[in-house]
Symmetry: D2
Subunit: 156 residues, 4 copies
């Protein structure tokens, strides 16, 4: 049940979210790796059952670096079909594009034929930080990680 | 493994898609029901493991009738969490809002904590008819139904 | 330069936002009307140069009542082309669908051929209340109203 | 009334659309430039009253190259506020993400405070090619260019 957390972060906020999610996945005995997007090759995605991607909110969608990474996955298009996917984002402002950024990642996952789950209680599309990783955000990141493990287990 | 197909249709195109999806689900031995949205009560959703919703493309999102139905599900918010969801749409024109209509249904499902899957080969977010239910559309509807059964089985 | 503010509100939060926007439009000498969606007929939209629509965040898109109203505008499709449009939303939670709700209204406006403007400083897609109409929200509503007047004036 | 058309194209389809839009803008006496995204610096956007951006549909949003270009505009965030914006996209398949790609560009424009217009008759969010630039697509591109000039003129 291998899971990977991939993030792009300039200010450090998205990285901090990634680390909390990674920590909670490990706490729950998942076999998990974590990479900044610059240190993973697209083909490595094939090894994992679950893929979690985080990006800051840049103009309403995922960062150019993360999008460039996703675009390269076209070389093995179809091979991620059926894997579990999840997304998270950090933003400078409330109502500043965090939801559309998460959805831009989810759209890519759906086009890959991946499987994703929302949350009826926490941040619905995926965890979001506004300005900073406060307690609310950390709780949502941990909750997201726990639910993601359940999803990957169900799909195994 | 009960599945329900719910649709709203005025011209008959969305209904035709719903019937093809229903037919393919039955062909594959699913225990499946089909309802126009006017003939099902929101609470009935609780009986099903998989929920498929289809709407014509009206101004880029699901029809008012279907949205009103979904809004009523708030009375048991949280109880659809973990169920499988899928969406389809018919549209009068290419680039006329069919993708955003499907996503408007998927967004509601994610907010309910439901689980959805895209398709790396067929219509990526869900099957779409443009103007009419042609062979391309029928193929995509049948493919969608087959994949949906697999998803529901995995989650069982 | 007639402008209309239309809202749907159950808890009163969206209504409060609508009234602030209305107030600021009036303060700036706009000829403005305000209606709950139940008290305006779709055809009345034809009288206005600018149309502002607000809805609570219900499952990630505009409320069924507002969507039903918008669906009815199909009877004069094409006649809103070139008018100015803006949207706002209230939500129970941060990351709970407020952005996608605003975009669901903007998508309808674009399909009508309407003209819309984001904001590089305030809430980018349109003003948002989270839980309550706090000072942040009021400031964004007033800023939105001022910018909307400028847009309508430019298009006159 | 300077307008710029910026595109990213690998297969040539988006480039062909860009050239048709450019041609129609020139036919209508606009002062227009055209650049592949690799040959324009972000700061050059400041010279133009109207900005049109085209991208192929890669996993449901604009290409990584175009997104990276847009991300760089943050260095003069706020200075595009009030300019006119439009978007177009090419896609390999119907229902393959073309609408969400156009919206990903429009979302960036709204976050910049730009002004955009849909179309009640043509491709609603912006012109789309599916597989190839056929007559339908060319007509929509020319119509889009004509309407874009009107928008820029109104805002002047």
């Amino acid at each position: 049940m291998k899971i990977v957390v991939i993030y792009y972060s300039r200010s450090g906020t998205t990285k901090k979210m990634a680390e909390i999610i990674y920590d909670e996945l490990k706490n729950n005995k998942a076999d998990v790796d974590i990479f900044p997007v610059s240190e993973i090759k697209p083909e490595q995605l094939l090894e994992y059952k679950g893929i979690i991607i985080g990006s800051p909110t840049y103009y309403g969608t995922l960062s150019g670096e993360m999008k460039t990474f996703i675009d390269l996955t076209v070389s093995f298009h179809g091979k991620l079909d059926g894997k579990a996917g999840g997304a998270f984002s950090s933003a400078a402002n409330l109502a500043g594009g965090n939801e559309t950024t998460i959805l831009s990642i989810i759209e890519a996952m759906l086009i890959h034929g991946m499987i994703t789950q929302g949350d009826s209680k926490g941040d619905h599309y995926g965890p979001v930080a506004v300005t900073t990783v406060d307690q609310r955000c950390e709780t949502n990141c941990r909750r997201f990680a726990q639910r993601f493990i359940s999803l990957v287990e169900k799909l195994a």
